[in-house]
């Protein structure tokens, strides 16, 4: 496939690994602890585990798996809201497949479906709009979640619904924003990161400039990174060079996709439909200021929060869950007391165990569970 196979080339991967080891070796003499590099995005976490990238790295580099998996940071209360909407009479509730198994306080969407709610997994929000066209007597709700990567798709779908005068389609908007979240991670007192891999597909939409503050204000190097194994290794090599040379800049490894200013059409659609919320609640991280968006007043007719009674309950995470610490890189998944025992992919307690982009599921599925006793 175009530019997929090329970026999985094993020979080039070996060369990069060697180059990374060489710099890491030079840096090691001045280090008292491993360099901690955070990959913010769950898509990167997925690639790192799928291709065993951690095993290729020297011990002096530690990958910290950040909070950038939209499904993983979904609070229980929000899942409960979804279930409430889905169980309303005459509603078809549509969602990306990833969200189906996230535990709510009583049940997940998958369980609600088994109990008889009309819940359908769709690949695209446009498919949800098609369902609305085909079922004019039903209310079709799309559960919009994800960072800036998915925002343009739901915004454009709402705009299309408006153009066609479709009145039985609405969005339950749970989109979250990247920059305030990275800021929250950086401001967390137990955080000691040395560099970042920036989410390539978020940057594809918002561009490189929104990440400048990480380099300028926090003096951390950051590289916008693609999702193939060579992309990750290449970016790590670029980051290490910055660290060695004492630079902290925003660099773009993913230039085949990401332009410095992002995607104008996508940004216009976002700003037309959405506005920043004062705060948004995250699983494991608590409430983060300005970290979510809602629909603008002009689109009230397409806003599920306005159209239906959403309970909007706050449910505390189970006490034994340590997802927040894992997400901030303070502890490793196997340090969580219930990792692999009470919390496993079959029976997830925390959301990090649900999606293959979640750190705990990735560790568990790749046999890291033994490390707990090692």
């Amino acid at each position: 496939m175009k530019f997929v196979d090329e970026f999985r080339d094993t020979q080039k991967a070996q060369t990069l690994t060697k180059a990374i080891h060489a710099i890491a070796c030079r840096l090691a003499s001045s280090q008292t602890k491993p360099l901690q590099i955070m990959e913010f995005c769950g898509g990167h976490t997925h690639t790192i585990f799928r291709y065993g990238i951690e095993q290729m790295l020297p011990d002096s580099i530690e990958m910290v798996h950040g909070p950038g998996c939209p499904v993983c940071v979904l609070p229980m209360g929000r899942v409960d809201d979804c279930v409430t909407l889905a169980e309303l009479p005459n509603v078809i509730f549509t969602t990306f497949g990833d969200a189906m198994r996230v535990p709510g306080s009583k049940k997940s969407l998958l369980q609600a479906k088994a109990d008889g709610a009309d819940i359908r997994m769709t690949y695209s929000p446009m498919d949800a709009l098609s369902l609305a066209r085909a079922n004019p007597s039903k209310e079709v709700i799309f559960f919009g979640l994800g960072f800036e990567t998915t925002m343009p798709s739901t915004a454009l779908t709402v705009l299309q619904a408006e153009r066609e005068g479709i009145t039985n389609f609405s969005l339950f908007c749970n989109h979250i924003t990247t920059v305030p979240t990275i800021k929250a991670v950086l401001d967390s007192p137990d955080m000691k990161l040395d560099g970042f891999l920036a989410p390539g597909h978020v940057a594809m939409v918002i561009g490189e400039r929104p990440f400048d503050f990480i380099a300028k204000d926090y003096h951390k190097p950051i590289v916008v990174t693609g999702f193939e194994p060579l992309d990750i290794l290449h970016s790590l090599w670029m980051l290490l060079q910055q660290i060695e040379q004492g630079r902290s800049e925003v660099e773009n490894q993913y230039s085949r996709i990401v332009q410095a200013n992002g995607n104008t059409a996508a940004l216009e659609a976002i700003s037309q439909v959405f506005e920043i919320r004062e705060f948004f609640e995250w699983r494991g991280l608590g409430s983060i200021d300005h970290s979510g968006v809602r629909m603008k007043q002009a689109y009230t007719n397409f806003d599920a929060e306005k159209k239906f009674a959403v309970p909007n309950l706050k449910i505390a995470d189970p006490k034994s869950c340590q997802c927040g610490e894992v997400v901030k890189g303070v502890i490793k998944p196997w340090d969580c007391k219930i990792f692999g025992t009470k919390c496993n992919p079959e029976n997830p307690m925390g959301a990090l165990m649900v999606s293959s982009e979640g750190a705990c599921a990735a560790y568990f599925n790749n046999g890291y569970n033994e490390q707990k006793t090692a």
Binding site: F3, K12, T150, R256
Partner: protein
């Protein structure tokens, strides 16, 4: 969820709604191309484009020159490594 997949636009299905058919590894489906259309790159010029497809939308055109440039950097890095290896062999008796 934030992953995408490269595909090639094979035809425009509805120019008004900005819909096109894309071929992703032999699988064809209709996608929205609003994010890759501009005054400089009108709908009519999109056929043949390689794009990153994400949840039913073409989110970005893939810049083939930039892809080649990145691969070239890695190619050169490999050559430097080979040189260095050869050098080390010659200095260490």
């Amino acid at each position: 969820m934030c992953l995408g997949i490269p595909g090639q636009i094979v035809s425009i299905t509805d120019a008004d709604k900005l819909l096109a058919k894309v071929n992703v590894s032999g699988v064809k489906r209709e996608i929205n191309i609003a994010c890759i259309v501009s005054d400089e790159h009108p709908v009519s010029s999109c056929v043949g484009d390689w794009v990153l497809v994400h949840v039913g939308f073409a989110m970005s055109r893939i810049d083939e020159e930039e892809a080649a440039r990145t691969l070239q950097i890695l190619e050169e890095l490999g050559e430097i490594e080979l040189e260095l290896d050869a050098m080390k062999l010659s200095v260490e008796p």
